[in-house]
Structures are given as C-alpha cells and as structure tokens.
Amino acid sequence: MSDQTRTNMRAAGMAVEAGGRHMSPEEKSWEANTLAPALAKSPERQSEFTTISGHPIRRLYSEADLAGWDAKRQLAHPGEPPYTRGIHATMHRGRLWTMRQFAGFGTAEDTNQRFRYLLTHGQTGLSTAFDLPTLMGYDSDHPLSEGEVGKCGVAISSLADMEVLFDQIPLSDVTTSMTINSPAPVIWAMYLAVAEKQGADWKKISGTLQNDILKEYIAQKEYIYPPEPSMRLVVDTFEFAVKHTPKFNPISISGYHIREAGSTAIQELAFTLRDGMEYIEWALRRGMQIDDFAPQLSFFFNAHSDFFEEIAKYRAARRIWYQAMTERYGAKNPRTWALRFHTQTAGCSLTAQQPFNNVVRTALQALSAVLGGTQSLHTNSLDEAWALPTEFAATIALRTQQIIAHETGVTNTVDPLGGSYFVEALTNEVEAGAWDYIRKIDAMGGMVAAIERSYPQREIAEASYRYQQELDKKEKIMVGVNEFISEEKPLEILQIDETVAHRQAARLNKLRAERSQADVDRALHALRKAAETYSKRVHSSGSSNGHLSHENLMPHIYDAVKTYATLGEICDAMRTVFGTYEETAIT
C-alpha cells in the first residue's frame, strides 16, 4: 500500500480503530485486496466528500456503521413509533401526498383565477402566498406598501378581499394553507368568516396556518411585535383551534425559511424542532394539555439538493419528535407523537442561469421529499429565480409531482430506503447532530432566549457564508453558475405592474366609505382593551413567562374582521399595545 493510499484512506475516515468502526473480516479483506489496489491505480476525485451542508460522507457504508443500531427500536415499522419509516402504515400506497402549490400574486381576483386553474389541473390542496404589505400587517394603501403591492403574493387588506380570493371555491371541500405569520390571527379570522358565509362547518374545515413567528426572528424576518406578545397570539390561535376548528392546523413550524437563509440540514432540523418545543412549552404554561393541542401542530421542511441528506433529515425529524413528545412532555396520544410535514423544494437552489435546469433540480428534490415520507408537497417553478411563476411554469411544477406519483413507481412500497446502511447511518448522524443543537438551546433557556442573543441567526449566517465561499472557490458546483456556463435566451416571465396597487387603493376607499365606522371603532377598541389587560399584568409583575391568564384575542380579532376593519387597522390596534420588534443586525 502506498503512502498516498494510506493518506487517502485516513482522509476518508477509514482508520479501523480510530472511529470506533469495527469492520468485518470480509470488509477488511476487501480493503486490502480490492480497494487498496484500486486507489493505488487511480486516486479518488477528491480527498474528502461532504454533503451540501458540509457533513462528511464515507466511501462505503456497511454493517460496521450501524454498530449498536437496533432495527427493532430505531427503525421499527411504518405507522408505529418512532416513525422512522413514516407515520402511516401504508404511506403513499394508501393515499398520495397532497399536491399543494403555493400561489398568489396581484389582486384577489388574479389569485382566485390561478387557484381555480390549479384545482382543475389536478392540484389537491390550496396554498396562499401573500404580498409583503399583507405579511407585515399594512394595508395596500399604506405609504410603506408603495412598490410592493401584489408583487410577492396576493394583496389582502380586508375581509372583502378574502371573499374574492375564495370566490367559487368551497372551503368545506378544499384544504387551504396560508403562509402568514405576524398577522396570522387576522388572516385566519378572515378565512373563518368566509367559511361561515359559505355555510361551511368550522368543525370540518381543514387547512394550515403558517403562524410560526420564531422562524421569522431567526430567518425570514417578517415580524411585527416583540417575541412575548407574538407568542401569546400563537397560543391564542392554539386555544381557538382546539375549541372551534379541530381539523385545522393552527401552525406550520417551519424549517423551510431557516434553510433558505443558508443553514445546514442539521441546523434546519434542530432549530425547527426546538421551535416546536418552545411553542409547546408556552402552551403548557397557559394551562393547555399536551395531547389536546399537539396533534394539531404541523411542520414544514425544505427539500434541498443533497438527496440522501434530505431523506435522512425527514426520517430523523420524526424520530426526534417522537422522543421529545414522550420523554419531555409525557404525551400519551399517538397523534401527538407523529410528526406530519409539508415540504417545498429549495427556492435558493434555483438558478437564474439556464433556468430550464431548475425543472430537473426540483424533480430530484421532490423525489427526496417523497422518499422521506412527506404528507404534502410544493414544487417550485423553473422561472422563480426571476419572478413569480407564469402559468406555464407553474403547470410543469405540478406535473413534476404527478410524474413522481404516477410514473416512477416509488410510491409502490413504504420507505423503500429503510435498512440501507448509508441512509440509516446518515439518519443517526443527522439525529445526533440535531440533538446537540437542541440541548445547547435548552441550556440557553429556550428558543426565545437563544434568539434574543442572536444564536441561531449567527449559526445560519456562518453556514451561509461558508457555502458561498465554497461556491466561489468551486469546491461546490452549481451547474450553469460556476461551471458548465452557457448563454441562454431570456425567459418570458410574469410581470406585476402598479395597476394592482391602484385597484387595491380604490377598493379600500370604497370599503372605508361603505362600512359602519362606529362598528369598526367599537371592535378595535374592544381588541385594544383585551390586549392591554395582559400587557399591564406582565409589566406590573415583571414576569415574562407568558403563563399569566388573560383573554384570548381571537374572538376580538374575529369580531373586528367581520366589521370590515382592515388588516392594517387591526394590526395597528395591537401595535399600539404591544409595540414593535427591531432586530440587532449581525453581519
């Protein structure tokens, strides 16, 4: 064996004793007789191989990598703890995942049309993208909304807009996801008001509110209020959902945006699950019982480009959640134990260059989500590094899911990768890495405390800079970006012009003229009063644990929405009581 070969083998982590990895006599013999001569003849392409997150990957995985691994305990069977193989006994043989394409642009009319188009083309659930003013709790005619109305999503300023958005879409039959966070209680109240108007039974309607404020502070930064009143609002929605809408997920605890901000797979998993535990702890302090509300919590992960790392991430997510629910919170209800999740392919992996390659990237990412046992999936469109998708691009994205579901055969059996040395070993490693982070955040006093000291923000910024450097040095390759570059013709893209803002402003003027201002004022006053009682108590006692009893704000928000008070007015009422949040910018 040459010195070079020895060096290569050490670099690939193959030292037998050093890593605690005990090879079988057969594997040892393979190393000596087959591998060593092969390496001597031609060395490998790189001295070390890592995932897109920088996680080291070995040349070969074998039973030596699963020493101490107990298939009965760690793998088990689908539909049974710890759910490594999926949360349902039959998984996609029984029911395919929900094909839920995120859509929203322009006015409510524009998006209503896109929704109905997608539903007639075989989409099985709706997912609403709101524009930035809506996400930040401003009406379309607010000065800060200038230039942003209808650009990144649909503009919704009042119940009147929401009525148009779901016109001719029966909310009793379709499940709807709404990507909204700080103003989530307001948008949800609007949705419930439309459902009521349509005669849909709240006990039967189903859907998901994103409503995950912690990842906003960590990654996406669409926050309004400081953490404590924000957490109060989240727990208010939990209480309301348990009581009135038992089939609605009041939260989708999201790793997606954490990953898009540049985190590694392990960070995405750890921060998301620790966020989930944080919500649970605040709800428990309110006096709620774990098995009453936790079955309604749902999750949302990214499907990035490193195929096996992503699959390991989804499998590890279910295992960690099961362990946390049973060991930390003593949950007894299997519906609390089972982590359900939506997946979206990675927007940040899309390239502006050679955009048709994005169809391929998205298909592979979507496949990893399916093999990882997702309950619902969004596939990105090829043109999204340029703009919101055209109907043409959005249709290909939906067809991508249909091809995976109906042509590839991967849905014919449950967890086809279960038992693979590599997948099981990587699942174990991702799981262990995530627990390390979770325990670190526990030691800081929880996620709100960790956010306040910018811990997750800093970890993500480090990872994102590291990855950019790898791209710049071509240590990681993005096809068409830093390698295999070629000229392309410009794409036809969706343009949103300022007429959307003008139409919205006109509609708001009409609304404000026609509604009963006295009713609006009364409802907003009641909302402010209810918000204040709590704030005063917190300030006088100096406590910040959010465990004080107070009035749930959801009924007040619902009343205000029904008077056609606008989103901006309702959020302002709470701004005056709660104040606003400013982050410490780190670079």
Binding site: E148, Q495, T587
Partner: protein
C-alpha cells in the same frame, strides 16, 4: 500611510426580510478590505440616502428581492442627487427581471448583479472602479 479604505453601505430597502444575500456580500466586501456599514432591514429611501451622506460612503449596495426595485431605485437616486451624492456608485443585487435592467441603469444604477454572481465578481467591480 495606510491606503484609504473603500467605504460601502449595504442596504435592504422595502418590506422584504430576506437578508441572506445582503449579509454575505457585507462580509465578503469586509474580508476584501473594505469598510462596510450594514443598515439592517426595512430602510426607506430617505433613510438610505441619509445614511450614505452621514457615513460618507463611496458605494451603496442595495439588496432587493421583492420586485419593488422599479419604485425604490429611482427614489433613492433622486434623493442622493438632491443631497449632492452624485459621485456615489450605486449597485443593486437581487431578483431583477432582465427587462427592467435598462431602465435601472438609466436611473443611474452602476451595475445590477443577478442570482449566482460570485462575491469575487462584486469585489472586482468595486476595486476596479476605485483603482488608481
């Protein structure tokens, strides 16, 4: 005597909070030896122009991913002109449709960097501009 450092203001105008690009660029320019000031999120055109004057910067880097560039960029250029900051080099990075690029350049934006640009390309552009 040490060479005078190039001063850069990295700004996030508009309501969007996606700051990954802004932070990566801020750090890369700093690593390349420039003096970098990051404004933080949700800066109005007025706040950005004032910060540019106050910090006496050579370069402003605007990170815009929300589609609001056609509204925001001309406003900032107008304010900079009113404040006598015609010498400052204004760069835009983000999600910008190709069709919008000529109008942005007409408004005085020196260069537009699209997704996939290496940080080195931006460093080189700035250093070339301020060489000699």
């Amino acid at each position: 005597m040490p060479e005078k450092k190039i001063r850069v203001l990295i700004a996030k105008p508009g309501l969007d909070g996606h700051d990954r690009g802004a932070k990566v660029i801020a750090r890369a320019l700093r690593d390349a030896g420039m003096e970098v000031i990051y404004t933080g999120l949700r800066q109005t055109p007025e706040m950005i122009a004032s910060a540019a004057v106050q910090e006496d910067v050579n370069v402003i880097g605007l990170s815009i991913l929300s589609g609001a560039h056609n509204t925001i960029c001309p406003q900032i250029m107008k304010l900079l002109h009113e404040k006598g900051m015609d010498d400052v080099t204004v760069l835009v990075g983000g999600i910008i449709p190709e069709a919008d690029i000529p109008a942005l350049k007409d408004a005085g934006i020196a260069e537009i960097f699209l997704p996939g640009t290496s940080t080195q390309a931006i460093v080189d552009f700035i250093q070339k501009k301020y060489a000699a």
